[in-house]
């Protein structure tokens, strides 16, 4: 390998995506029409604001048509110390986008010597989604959620996106994916100002439960195999995943509640 040197008018600066283009490794290439192929799709993810920051959650199921292709996919991932990204849509491009997004944030921080602001990161993700538009037109749609703890405002912030890269900052909660409608309804009814982190964890779990109850592409807690949704809190202490043991307790409470209906 040799060092990637460019003439000054073609220098990609701190942009990792541009760098990939220059060396011919860019993943954003024109796809053939894949809408007839059965490729895995990832589904429901949610995020809610709470008094200490935000809580994100995503179910673990990926489906190809009416088959379950993965039971333990992780759709909520850490982007950097104080932010996370959750994805719904075609699993392959979605995972690639997340990987690229994580790399871009870190690459920028190293080249520039200081991290991007939270809003800068949200903007950057919007560009990735827009770059994916040609692929989305051919059946590889990716719709992420971005959330994090803003060190400037000392609180949580969250964004959702549309397939064209449209970026919308939400005040209370967001949901994306096939179970979006059901999950968002639960959040809308259950959300109130200044939720504690524990209450927010309960609320997102409840929303995924209801989504999985009504939407076949959303997976519920898999008690048989010990697979629970990925739930993460992002506060001033950074991104922390809620342990499966804690989630087991939360889902026991939820199922106990359902039995009494």
């Amino acid at each position: 390998m040799i060092l990637p040197v460019f003439p000054s008018d073609q220098d990609p600066g701190s942009n990792f995506g541009e760098l990939l283009k220059r060396v011919g490794l860019s993943p954003f290439e024109q796809f053939a029409d894949v809408s007839k192929l059965e490729i895995p799709h990832a589904t429901t993810c949610v995020a809610v604001k709470c008094s200490d920051g935000v809580v994100m959650a995503g179910d673990r199921r990926a489906t190809s048509g009416n088959l379950i292709s993965h039971r333990s996919m992780e759709k909520v991932v850490q982007a950097d110390e104080f932010s996370g990204v959750a994805i719904a849509g075609a699993a392959g491009p979605a995972m690639e986008m997340v990987k690229l997004f994580q790399l871009q944030i870190e690459h920028y921080e190293k080249v520039e010597g200081q991290p991007l602001s939270l809003e800068g990161k949200a903007n950057q993700l919007s560009m990735f989604v827009r770059n994916n538009l040609p692929a989305a037109m051919q059946g590889l749609m990716v719709v992420p959620i971005f959330a994090g703890f803003d060190e400037v405002s000392q609180g949580g912030r969250l964004w959702d996106y549309d397939a064209t890269g449209g970026r919308y900052e939400e005040l209370d909660f967001v949901a994306t994916g096939s179970g979006q409608l059901h999950a968002a309804t639960v959040l809308r009814v259950g959300w109130r100002k200044n939720l504690t982190t524990a209450e927010a964890v309960h609320l997102v779990s409840q929303s995924l439960w209801e989504a999985s109850d009504a939407d076949s592409a959303t997976g519920g807690p898999d008690i048989l195999r010990g697979i629970y949704p990925v739930v993460a809190t992002i506060t001033k202490d950074g991104f922390q995943r809620v342990s499966d043991n804690d989630l087991e307790v939360v889902f026991d409470q939820i199922t106990a509640g359902v039995k009494q209906r």
Partner: protein, 225 residues
């Protein structure tokens, strides 16, 4: 009509080397050494914004002396190369030896082919899983790569600093002890350095993915109290 001229290759190389050495000697030196928790890099740097030490990858750090704009450009190239390799293959495939060779190739090429050689010396440090797997590479202005053990000194006054480090160095120094040793070595009789004159960063064996950590001015002052 221009006059054809001949300069013996030996003379040409010597002139270039003298030129590069002079440029490097104008700047301040820096030291990297193994300590109990990893590798500490201590540079004399009057600026608090223009950095000499920086992160390249999870376990790899970079430091340069000489002309700032030249080594900073090399730093960015290193970050790019490492991030590209990590993206294309896997994070564990990114290593300091390969990076040091890429740097050597480029610096050596500039030294022999360009009008002006780079007036820089750089250091690439990689934190191993255990201290005996740590790697320290010193790349000179002409592309010579040196693989050194325990500690490295780069910069104009390297020989006298190296002697001072050699006398005080023992394995498993604490961060405080190694910073103090570096301060003593970088100071001279007529110029005593304080925490304010230094830039310090460590590669710390702490189980985290990104091992590079800058020691802020405040925590350095507290450390050296």
């Amino acid at each position: 009509m221009s006059m054809p001229y001949y300069v013996a290759p030996e003379q040409m190389m010597k002139d270039r080397a003298d030129f590069a050495r002079k440029g490097i000697a104008r700047g301040r030196s820096l030291v990297a050494m193994q300590f109990a928790d990893g590798i500490a890099i201590v540079a004399e740097n009057p600026s608090h914004t223009l950095r000499k030490i920086s992160e390249i990858y999870d376990r790899i750090a970079f430091a340069g002396v000489g002309k700032y704009n030249e080594f900073d450009q090399l730093r960015v190239l290193g970050v790019r190369s490492a991030d590209l390799k990590g993206y294309q293959f896997s994070r564990q495939d990114v290593d300091a030896r390969s990076l040091a060779n890429q740097y050597a190739q480029m610096i050596g090429q500039t030294f022999t082919h360009e009008v002006k050689p780079l007036e820089v010396e750089i250091l690439i440090a990689e934190l191993g899983a255990t201290s005996d797997k740590d790697q320290l590479f010193h790349i000179m202005y002409d592309g010579t790569v040196l693989d050194e053990q325990r500690f490295i000194v780069i910069g104009g006054d390297a020989d006298s600093i190296r002697t001072k480090i050699e006398t005080g160095f023992t394995p498993n120094l604490s961060l405080k002890e190694s910073a103090q040793l570096a301060i003593t070595a970088l100071s001279s009789d007529d110029r005593k350095l304080t925490a304010h004159d230094l830039e310090v960063a460590v590669l710390q064996r702490n189980g985290a993915r990104r091992c590079f950590k800058r020691i802020s001015d405040q925590s350095l002052e507290d450390l050296l109290k």
